[in-house]
Subunit: 128 residues, 2 copies
């Protein structure tokens, strides 16, 4: 089965959160929350040090082979895991990664930061 990757920026801090300890940052907390709740056969939760969207913490991303990658922001660490995993399931169900607009949770609609087309070219070149 092809798993969906969920990247989580573990360095994201909300408001005036202290730099240390790093594991108390909002991003690190959301990462742990998602890791604890996600179905391991369906999702791979990968911690990332900075997704370069520092003004919209916590930032996450969805990607999977042959699908558009999406970056979303504005997720508070508490109470966002269910919304993210619900959206990640819709992404997993979509052959190209495009979640139908009407099905998108409100947080996903307004949280979108950017998207990148599927890496068909990269796959072809990588196979050479």
């Amino acid at each position: 089965m092809m798993r969906t990757t969920i990247h989580v920026c573990t360095t994201c801090r909300l408001g005036d959160e202290p730099l240390e300890p790093k594991e108390a940052r909002s991003g690190a907390r959301l990462y742990r929350e998602l890791s604890a709740r996600a179905r391991e056969d369906a999702f791979e939760i990968i911690p990332v040090e900075c997704l370069s969207v520092c003004k919209r913490p916590v930032t996450i991303g969805f990607s999977a082979p042959g699908k558009w990658s999406y970056i979303y922001g504005d997720f508070p660490p508490d109470g966002s895991a269910d919304t993210i995993l619900e959206a990640a399931q819709l992404y997993a169900d979509a052959p190209d990664g495009l979640i139908p607009w009407k099905d998108r949770p409100a947080e996903i609609k307004r949280g979108v930061v950017a998207r990148i087309p599927p890496a068909f070219t990269q796959f072809a070149e990588a196979a050479e």
Copy 2:
């Protein structure tokens, strides 16, 4: 040789630009400009209908197999091609896609929208 992909959002419009004709939009113009100037052996310029960064036109992206993907915004269609191609060459020269901070053109420093880690997992899974 492994080429660098430069995605260009052809639907991006600056200010109150009209919707039609589509080929006159800032994004479409920047796409043509880059296509005309880029070295074909080094760069693949790919038009994309919307990178979901509509508030920061024109939006572009760099990606290559095994490297971080980067999304940048705020490029006016006139006079940006040289800056973008200079940065794309630095990206091509960086094994992981991380351009050293001191070498980044100012437009690239302040234009960053987001980045996504290299898709090692996806490659591994795609090969299965």
